[in-house]
Amino acid sequence: MKHKHEIDIGEIIRGKERLRRELAGLPFAEKMAMALELGKLSQVLAEARKEGRLFLKKESASG
């Protein structure tokens, strides 16, 4: 029996693949809009990082 917190990596990968296929099957206009939104988001994050408003959390050596 699986532990309730156990993560099924296979399930995650399958879910990711399913999501990718679903996204790839979207109408072109929807995909274009999504790509632009992603581009905007990435730009905002990059600016925030540049201005020091956002930090990527580094994993500590001890874990």
Partner: protein, 249 residues
């Protein structure tokens, strides 16, 4: 008499002396500059108004005319469709000869959406009368329609679009062989994935590498066609090198 790159007659000399005296010029060249400025600013009708003497001040800053972007209604997918419709209209009115969507958006047509900041329209312009090809008619057309122009981008609502004239044999071929597609209900044309891959191989910027890998993973690629295109445009070795490096890592 030839002086300072100009030919002067006796009458010119007299006039320069007069200008020098009347406007308190410290040198003859200052008088010449004044006279030239007056000539440049001379109205077609009316008196010649000489500008005030002295050293020319700093150049006035040219302010870009503030153009408010035309309001495009609807959510983002509708605005994207509107952008395509605008370009179709532009083609119908003869400003551009033909077009196809290229760049990241063309790859997105075949794969899951990946980030991009604009929509690239590869275009063929009507044959120019002279030797100079200019994009000015496109910007004039869009400005007339009320769309905001920022650098090379034109904002149709929230959708930044860019026009790229085909620049080499590969991009010309990609435009010729682009496939028909629908953006919402609006017809458009998109580069074939094989041409998209060839152009990305040509550029091979970091983002191109990511997109190539994404397309290899998700898109249905006609590898025979791709090989033909890459060989035809001298990119086969570059492609092989990239794929080999990718497999090694």
């Amino acid at each position: 008499m030839r002086r300072k790159g100009f030919y002067f007659s006796a009458e010119d000399e007299r006039l320069l002396g007069e200008i020098e005296r009347r406007y308190g010029c410290v040198s003859e060249s200052q008088a010449i500059r004044l006279a030239l400025r007056a000539l440049a600013g001379r109205p077609l009708i009316g008196e010649v108004a000489l500008p005030a003497p002295g050293r020319p001040g700093p150049k006035p800053k040219r302010e870009k005319p503030k153009v408010s972007n035309k309001v495009v209604k609807g959510d983002l997918p509708e605005q994207v469709e509107e952008a395509v419709r605008v370009v179709n209209d532009m083609k119908a009115s003869g400003v551009i000869e033909t077009y196809a969507i290229g760049g990241a958006m063309a790859v997105n047509f075949y794969t899951e959406p990946t980030e991009t900041k604009d929509v690239d329209f590869f275009i063929a312009l009507p044959k120019p009368r002279g030797k100079i090809v200019t994009m000015q008619p496109i910007y004039d057309y869009m400005r007339e329609k009320g769309y905001e122009i920022r650098d090379v981008w034109i904002n149709v609502g929230r959708v930044p679009i860019q026009f790229i004239p085909v620049y080499d044999n590969l991009s010309e071929e990609a435009l010729d062989q682009a496939v028909d597609a629908l953006c919402g209900k609006t017809p458009t044309r998109v580069f074939r994935i094989e041409h998209g891959l060839a152009i990305m191989t040509q550029l091979l910027r970091p983002k191109d590498k990511v997109r190539i890998l994404s397309a290899l993973d998700q898109a249905e690629i006609d590898f025979r066609r791709l090989e033909e295109i890459l060989c035809r445009h001298g990119l086969w070795e570059k492609w092989k090198d990239f794929v080999r490096k990718f497999r090694e890592t």
